[in-house]
Symmetry: C2
Subunit: 193 residues, 2 copies
DNA sequence: AAAGTATGTTACTTTTTGGTAACAACCAAA
DNA sequence: TTTGGTTGTTACCAAAAAGTAACATACTTT
């Protein structure tokens, strides 16, 4: 029997990660984590207090933020910048099962950590929106409205794509559907900016 | 003791409705339904077979389809028609807690009834899209792309609004935010159609 | 080396949830 | 009115989930 608390904690958090990616945050239960990690559940209580505490720690460790460098904001072409930023958003969500599960979980949970996450996301988003306003001369509400339209839509479709293949005839569980959607977004920006 | 199967079934289905509106489909469990309805759970098994059967019946009774009359599709102004149809979509979702819960449930469940729902929704949507194509001269993919952008976005924000007040500075849990969003949608249609 | 604490194991209790058996009351048809 | 099936009640059983007690082993400090 080796004693190594750090190692144990890491194993437990790794187990959480696997469960989240596979089944989502809703499935992170004490017994599930215990058996997935191979650790006894009493250690989870000792080291993290509760499932809520465990999830808080997991979210804190993972860097789930829109990791966009807000210090070097766009110069020049606003259209190109806008298009690019939504491409990045789509790629981020499409490539991360855990992030998709997080977004899904947010729709039904009131976990305290979620507020923190949202606050930070909101900050980043507002910075980006503000700088697009400056460059384009559009009003804040307009830019915010359009960003909202696009990001909310992308979030929804990425989550839905895990259970459902087609939406309005678009194949949202494969690249083909997303290319069409990107084309639509590009088209929209060409027309309205 | 009064014997009245029809009445009992209705009480059970009503209980399902209340649970769905309050806590969502995930919370529709056998014991919860039994205690909410005041009926003994064995009757649920007898009359509906299982929770899946009960939910199937609930979904069948409720007319959850986008009840849009596809026989009298738009004449004349495409822009006005498009704007109006998305207004209707927003109102539908914003006014029905049960529908919001259904949309949320779809994001994580693989319940067989859901496929049926989606099929019928898809049919209606495609009809509408097709007629907008004709009137506007736009390609099918373009119209489908734009519809997808708007409806997916609206679905997401309506669900999110139950737990979260603000998204990109928009107040999505009150009319003020939705008016701004509608204004954005109108603006978009003015520019691109 | 002895004592004290942190770590880990085992086995248990409790609670919740799902599921069923056995019986009682009602209604309708013969 | 007896008989048979339907409806409803009560009380259980079983499985899964959360949570804890008691003990054993390793490490640290003195």
């Amino acid at each position: 029997m080796i004693k190594d608390r750090d190692n144990t904690e890491r194993r437990i958090l790794d187990a959480v990660g696997r469960i989240v990616e596979r089944e989502g945050f809703e499935a992170v239960r004490i017994n599930a984590v215990a058996s997935e990690s191979g650790m006894s559940k009493i250690l989870i209580y000792r080291y993290f207090g509760s499932i809520d505490g465990l999830l808080a720690k997991y979210l804190e460790d993972k860097d789930f933020w829109l990791n966009f460098d807000t210090s070097q904001l766009p110069q020049g072409d606003v259209k190109a910048f806008s298009k690019q930023i939504f491409r990045a958003y789509i790629n981020m969500l499409r490539s991360s099962p855990a992030l998709r599960k997080l977004y899904r979980w947010e729709l039904s949970s009131k976990h305290p950590s979620i507020n923190e996450l949202r606050k930070r996301r909101e900050e980043t988003a507002l910075k980006i929106i503000a700088s697009v306003c400056e460059l384009s001369g559009e009003s804040f509400d307009r830019v915010a409205g359009i960003s909202t339209l696009v990001t909310a839509s992308v979030s929804y479709l990425c989550i839905l794509g895990e259970n459902c293949g087609v939406y309005n005839s678009l194949q949202i569980d494969s690249d083909s559907g997303w290319e069409k959607l990107l084309e639509t977004i590009d088209f929209m920006f060409d027309k309205i900016l």
